[in-house]
């Protein structure tokens, strides 16, 4: 009996943890309705869920009725999408590529509901009521690469990639191109160590890899490896080197060592795409890319703390050139090779 009671208690505690961690809030204002489903991070995750929610808050200021549901585990995606679909909002956002399948399933099941998703591009026209928002990460990576190229004293920088794939290669080849562009300007060769660590979660591997790069003579390392990459930041902190953050302004993690960050402004995508929907544009079945032009990617203000003004000014020039198309950023190995040949 005692044993049964105890097991029951255990189960209760377990359930409580999940229930408490998925709180729910509904705001009522006039006009259109937009809902958002977070992935496991929740809306205060100091990462893209929070950024997405900031975009929603901007919509709210314009009279849009916003609401959200947090997913405590992967199994919640479907339930949360279904719950929100019943409320029939004008648009439902799924945040993050983890929800790709759940959103695809929901859009097949509910043909009259419009869905949008961050970091996923479904094949054109396959899902007429789902729209993808992706980012020109190669553009922000180009900028941080350009800064790294100008800032390196050892003419040697590093890059840590979480996982290989089309979306991730944008970071790598954008960065390589940025470094090469700076090297060309300075008339020198800059070596770039690129390592794929095949994990987004294992901080120890990220830290060890960065330590090795610094030991090999790199003085700046850029990571695109999520939590694993935060190990690169601790390595920089311990060794007193520079590191470049990704997705968010990561300077709070190591204010003295984070040189700059390649931002992905999810809020901009959420806001911009939602507005397109309200304007009556037919967005279903398409994928939209957000880049430097519309503020979808960029570098943070805090960069001015460590990057000298003249380099930042030059970076601004490069940014303008990317926006007006004078510079195109490569996103695959072939494109990068061709790009580099053209650069000379």
């Amino acid at each position: 009996m005692k044993r049964k009671l105890f097991c029951l208690l255990l189960v209760l505690v377990l359930m409580l943890t999940f229930v408490v961690s998925c709180g729910q809030k509904d705001d009522k204002t006039k006009g259109k309705k937009v809902a958002m489903i977070t992935d496991i991070g929740g809306i205060n995750d100091e990462s893209f869920n929070q950024s997405a929610w900031n975009g929603m808050l901007r919509l709210e200021k314009e009279g849009v009725e916003i609401s959200f549901l947090e997913s405590a585990k992967e199994a919640d995606y479907k339930t949360n999408l279904d719950r929100k679909t019943e409320e029939k909002p004008d648009l439902i956002w799924g945040i993050g590529f983890m929800m790709a399948d759940a959103v695809a399933d929901a859009s097949k099941a509910h043909k009259d509901q419009l869905y949008a998703i961050i970091d996923v591009g479904y094949p054109d026209g396959e899902l007429p009521n789902a729209v993808g928002a992706m980012f020109h990460s190669e553009e922000s990576s180009f900028l941080v690469g350009y800064i790294a190229g100008h800032m390196t004293k050892t003419d040697h920088v590093g890059f840590i990639l979480g996982m290989e794939g089309d979306v991730m290669f944008r970071f790598q080849y954008g960065y390589l191109a940025g470094v090469a562009y700076a090297a060309k300007e300075l008339g020198k060769e800059i070596k770039v160590d690129c390592v794929t660590i095949n994990t987004f979660g294992d901080t120890a591997v990220g830290k060890a890899t960065a330590t090795k790069m610094y030991s090999d003579g790199a003085d700046i390392v850029y990571h695109a490896a999520g939590q694993a990459g935060s190990g690169a930041i601790t390595a920089a902190k311990e060794l007193g080197k520079w590191v470049i953050g990704v997705d968010l302004d990561q300077s709070p993690l190591a204010p003295d060592n984070v040189l700059t960050s390649a931002l992905k402004n999810v809020d901009q995508a959420v806001y911009g795409l939602s507005k397109k929907v309200f304007d009556g544009e037919q967005v279903g079945g398409k994928t939209f890319f957000f880049g430097l032009k519309d503020g979808g990617v960029g570098i943070p203000e805090t960069s001015s703390k460590h990057v000298p003004k003249e380099i930042l000014d030059k970076t601004k020039e490069v940014e303008k050139k990317i926006i007006d198309g004078t510079i195109t950023c490569p996103i695959t190995e072939e494109e990068f090779k061709a790009w580099k040949e053209k650069l000379g």
Binding site: L14, S21, G41, N44, A254
Partner: protein
């Protein structure tokens, strides 16, 4: 010079990777030697990492953090001891539940304390480094930078020796092992099986909490939901790999850390695909298991609750 640097770097990465594993697997050895299985090490590590990071953040003192991390782990393990020893429940199920509870409650605590975020803020001070403590100036010396490691590594080895000594050279150790081999016989000779199992199980959580705390305070510098991602299970494997012996388990952890270090050192070599490298630790583990390790024999009463009077 270059070679020496690579060797030093390999050693220091090995130590960084294996020290949390060493603590945790030593915990595993203690509890399994006393006859209580504990597959909840992962959850205890996560909970310990949470306690260590949270307290380390608020007090700015890594040692207080580590201590609280140990207490957090010990608390969960005490729960496990209650289920396994007093309630005589299934130890595997209890362990699985604890894996969920450790991480779940850990995230819950950080959400309460850090404005809803699932991860803690960065701790101001991590665990001190040996070279820094020795007062060596490493800003100029690349070799010293490569050779740097956390002071907790030393404690790990000390613990391994201490636990080996207690288990094999003292009466207490004999009693602990007796509880794992034949609790009925131990009981007949006046050994308090219940008490010993409680103490050993709780200690295993304390060690796992330390392991988690070290991960949080010397590698990640904060708690995140993925800060402990599988280390608890690797430590558990190290217990079996090391044939339920403290020194064996420590060596197993070092081997695993070394394999991880190799993947890092060889990383970025153009002719080596990163996917193959990623498999290296596991392939190496299997090889060693096939070639070097003698048949491993678990404690005979492992995982079985003891009913008084049972022979």
């Amino acid at each position: 010079m270059e070679l020496l640097n690579t060797v030093l770097l390999t050693v220091s990465i090995t130590l960084m990777y294996s020290s949390p594993l060493i603590f945790t697997s030593l915990g595993g050895v203690i509890t399994q030697r006393a006859g209580v299985d504990n597959i909840g090490l992962e959850g205890m590590m996560a909970f310990g990492a949470c306690g260590a990071a949270v307290v380390g953040y608020f007090t700015a003192n890594p040692w207080t953090g580590l201590l609280v991390g140990a207490l957090f782990g010990g608390f969960l393990a005490f729960l496990h001891a209650f289920i396994s020893v007093t309630a005589k429940g299934n130890q595997i199920i209890s362990g699985i539940a604890i894996n969920f509870i450790g991480l779940g409650v850990g995230i819950f605590i950080t959400r309460r304390l850090f404005n809803g975020a699932a991860q803690s803020s960065t701790v101001p001070n991590g665990i001190p480094k040996v070279m820094d403590l020795l007062g060596l100036d490493k800003t100029e010396s690349r070799l010293l930078q490569s050779a740097e490691f956390d002071v907790t590594v030393i404690f790990g080895f000390l613990f391994a020796f201490l636990i080996w000594f207690i288990l094999y050279k003292t009466k207490t150790g004999l009693r602990v092992r007796a509880c794992g081999e034949h609790p009925g016989a131990a009981d007949t000779l006046g050994v308090n099986v219940t008490l010993i199992r409680y103490i050993c199980t709780t200690l295993s959580g304390v060690m796992a909490g330390l392991g988690g705390g070290i991960t949080a305070l010397s590698i990640a510098y904060r708690f995140t939901p993925t800060v402990i991602s599988g280390q608890g299970f690797i430590a558990l494997a190290a217990v079996i790999f090391g044939n339920w012996k403290p020194i064996g388990a420590t060596l197993a952890c070092l081997l695993f850390g070394f394999a991880q270090a190799l993947t890092v050192i060889l990383g970025g070599v153009p002719w080596m695909p990163s996917e193959i490298l990623k498999m290296l630790p596991y392939v190496l583990t299997l090889l060693v298991l096939m070639v070097f390790v003698e048949r491993s024999t678990p404690p005979r009463a492992l995982g079985q609750p003891y009913f008084k009077g049972q022979s």
